[in-house]
Amino acid sequence: MGLAKESQFHVLAVDDSLVDRKLIERLLKTSSYQVTTVDSGSKALEFLGLNEDEQINSNQPSVSPNNHQEVEVNLIITDYCMPGMTGYDLLKKIKESSSLRNIPVVIMSSENVPSRISRCLEEGADEFFLKPVRKSDVNKLKPHLMKTKDNNHQKQENKEASETIEVQPPQPPQLQPQQQQSNNKKRKAVEVEGLSPDRTMPRYSGLTAV
């Protein structure tokens, strides 16, 4: 996977519109991101390595870490209005998955509906872009991507120990699974508290390494 060398960030773009996929791909490529585009939420989940079986086991610690993620995705940007699985549904599934929930998710929509925006941010979306998406929007992705790279790097070095230090006083390793659960709750609480109606600023996960 090449974490040692300076590798490009990989963005997964999800949109049922052919025109918009072309546009977002170009926008992301001009920012030097590696891009994969898919036309539906289900294809996105498939690409991310999450299928029916994985979902059932998603709350259990993974036995083989690289089992479901062959490709590393650093950010997911998805349209909101899609037939079948909406961008919101996709966001939920990603946040419910232990292997995917730390990947930043950005929602795009052609409609400016405040309740929709809040809902998405509440569910853990890092940004909400109004369409048509512009270069200035894409420029806002960098901090979210950098955050993930730091997270991944930390995890490589010291898997669960760093998360322990972040949120609670150090505890013996056998308590890890319990801690993961309380970490999740804490994270959710942080997100809801910080919410305000015209919030468009990015939000940081409670597990961010500082």
Binding site: S17, V19, K22, L23, T30, S110, K131
Partner: protein, 152 residues
């Protein structure tokens, strides 16, 4: 510089300005042009071609759906939503505007209103298609004469 090239440049720039002034194109089209460069010299033509294909498909579907005995307005709305989205993404302002009215008639389940809008959106689509094809032709002529397309 070659006077033929200068003339062609002038022709292109005047034509482009007229499209903006008459509301056929908006700033989003400019955004598209800014995404084009030496490594992707055909980007605008490619996206616009996708828009043409997509729109033609949607207009065909809309015609079929509105022709039914019992009109499925949710389907109509879904198609119009898609057309509104793609026209907005390439900056085809007048097409996008008609889509907004079109959706209102959908909400009201007004078949006659929808049919009127369908005709209008077809007209606007044809107009912008012709305009863009002319614009691309002028660009080709300029390039063929040895000129370069000014960055907007």
């Amino acid at each position: 510089m070659d006077s033929a090239v200068l003339q062609l440049q002038r022709q292109l720039s005047d034509y482009k300005s007229s499209l903006y002034n008459e509301g056929f194109l908006d700033d989003q089209f400019t955004q598209l042009q800014q995404l084009q460069d030496e490594s992707n010299p055909d980007f605008v033509v490619e996206v616009v071609s996708l828009f043409f294909e997509d729109s033609e498909r949607l207009l065909t579907e809309l015609t079929k759906t509105l022709d039914q005995q019992s009109v499925d307005f949710r389907k109509v709305d879904a198609y119009v939503h898609q057309l509104k989205g793609s026209s907005s993404s390439i900056g085809a302002q007048r097409v996008q505007r008609v889509c907004i009215y079109f959706r209102n008639y959908c909400d009201e389940q007004n078949v006659e209103g929808c049919l009127k809008c369908l005709q209008q959106v077809k007209n606007e689509y044809t107009l912008v298609k012709n305009k863009l094809e002319t614009l691309f032709k002028f660009e080709q002529q300029l390039l063929a004469a040895g000129g370069s397309i000014p960055m907007q």
